[in-house]
Symmetry: none
Subunit: 223 residues, 4 copies
């Protein structure tokens, strides 16, 4: 009677604490430069004890990335739910991304910086989630353009990557505690991007030597 399955909950909680902690260490020293022993030491769990929670170091990395991506995607979907104005949707996208970045900095750095450290199925799995996120972004941009001008696929793709670049690069310099607030950062990046995006048109088209259309990139951010 009363609460059910407290054991499982306990396990889940401890696991999440370990994910959080590991993300911090990976973010700090880099995945390959972090030893499982480092994590054992920091967590107070024995070396072997960790393997009760993850099958391998790479699975640990994978779980960190997957958990964050799911959070990001869920959060975004919820926020976009009943918003229809294209620019407002873009604004929400930028703000949501950066807010999560600020709140979960270590995991975000790991997600952005250590994608290449994954291999095999782990990588494939994360690639798929990143792809989904990228598609969401491209959809929004398409709507903005349809509303305000032409929607060249190549231009859209470059713009999307530019936007991700602006946002993701923050992990190299932005510290929420020392810099401007996330809200203001997000707003500035949003306006910076939107301002240029709306007027960029098919910039430099005439310069391009490759004629063929590129089609939708298979790379999410980059596979």
């Amino acid at each position: 009677m009363g609460q059910a399955a407290p054991v499982s909950t306990n396990h889940q909680e401890k696991l999440e604490r370990l994910l959080e902690l590991s993300a911090e260490i990976f973010a700090d020293k880099g995945y390959h430069n972090t030893s499982i022993r480092d994590i054992a030491r920091a967590s107070g769990v024995s070396l072997a004890g960790l393997y009760y929670y993850f099958r391998s170091k790479e699975e640990l990395l994978f779980r960190i990335q997957e958990r964050l991506l799911r959070t990001v995607l869920d959060d975004l979907r919820r926020r976009l739910d009943d918003v229809h104005d294209p620019r407002e949707r873009l604004r929400i996208f930028v703000h949501s991304h950066l807010r999560v970045f600020a709140q979960r900095r270590p995991a975000m750095k790991v997600l952005v910086h250590e994608y290449d450290s994954l291999t095999g199925e782990h990588r494939e799995h994360i690639r798929a989630l990143r792809h989904e996120y990228m598609e969401t972004c491209l959809g929004i941009l398409r709507d903005v353009r349809r509303f305000c001008g032409s929607g060249d696929a190549v231009v859209l793709r470059v713009a999307a990557f530019a936007l991700f670049g602006m946002m993701n690069w923050t992990y190299t310099w932005y510290r929420p505690e020392q810099d401007v607030s996330v809200e203001r950062l997000a707003e500035q990046l949003y306006r910076l991007f939107l301002g240029g995006f709306l007027r960029s048109g098919d910039a430099g088209r005439h310069l391009d030597r490759c004629a063929e259309p590129l089609g939708p990139g298979d790379a999410p951010w980059r596979s």
Copy 2:
């Protein structure tokens, strides 16, 4: 005067070939995931032989980054030499950066991705060169703003990082051979940035919780 130290030249050439090759491998597998043996194997030089050219693995990483940064800075200075129009200077900055990125992709990825892998003096040295580069960028942005509007330091800083983010992030997705040409990419990013930069003003200022004054605001974006 006699022969000008042909041995030395030979040495220099071989060293540069090794730097290039190592950059490729580091870019491909990551610095920490690459072993000196990998480099020995790929170069045909014996394991011990490599240590004639570098004192340590980290020095190898350092040389790759330093060499590229010097190239970038020199190239940029030369191109900016007698150009005075602020926007044209910004345009040159963007194009120069991306052209080098495209021409020396492996080294660029290493420069961008493996900065944290440096320690001690090596890191400090590279930090200084990066700082110099950043200052050049900020100087250009300041000029653009002075020409066209207010030049809030915080806004400038965020804009500069946004620009770097857009450009540096390309290492994760842009392939010169498969994507749009570098020229077009550069032009689009330049316009995207400039368009937003010129109209972004002190976006979101009222949202900010930080107290410090930011200079006279201009018209809100939405008006």
Copy 3:
């Protein structure tokens, strides 16, 4: 009187199932290459649960060997009970050994292949049972010889080991389902051995450098 401890019976049954299963796995992968976890997985019992049935991995190995040896010895004694013809006794010995081999292949392989994996008292205990079995065999051979010729102890010993070699080696090649029937295999080995045994005499005696007397020689084989 009442019920005869049904719990205990349950326990005994489960234990025997575990012995059987473990024998299979040990036979397949080798004792040292098998982990307790493998056994837990295969049996569906939890890792810790297994330790209710055995005190240690080695005790598990010991029980497998001991159980089989007792079976073999009991079976043999029963079959030899009222048989007095020496050759018939030998025949029974061979058939019995090989029949058990065929019926309990995994355990037999473990018994033959993993004797060295035992240590201390476990090893000593099994050694004693094996010795008993060997003595039974030697006794039979002695009778055969006494019946048909001289009974040199050395010759007997070598012959006994030869017989065991022929029989035990079957674990490396004989598969009851694919090869000749056990009956035929047993009969052929029996005749092969008996044929040679009866005529081998003190073969090669003159070749031997050992000085110890070997008893009166009989006619050379070639005569």
Copy 4:
């Protein structure tokens, strides 16, 4: 001028010393129960230093087995070279096998006992060599039978395995220093086998329930 490549020779010598030593330890403690550290300790070479000579523990096991098998096969071929009498050829086979067994006991035990510890290509390679050896044996037995009686394939196969069993099993009990001389052991086993082989005919044929002929087994001793 003078001797060529002394370095290579040195390397080869050291490697062979390591093979020999490792064979002893594997024979003594078993392959899976021996750690590379044990070998390092016994050889005086550092742990990492060993990996200059073998790529892996399994390759070490493989080399031990391969080296011995090549020795055995070469030796046997040389001895059989100009001998034509079938019985003499059989005699040479048995003597050769046991002499090598006695001279290289540790390696022989490893070859016989640790075949299952090999995997993948290593195993396949050894399997092929064992097969070649087995075929040589079968060829000899066929000749003996053709000379003296019928040559049933199944009987031959069983006889061959019986012979191998007699000989290989010696690793479990025979100590050249304490037992009869190798020559005498070989002679006795040879006569024991030949005596039975020549008179065994198609023993127990009528007992067999499986009718189909077995054809030449693919297993050497047992793959």
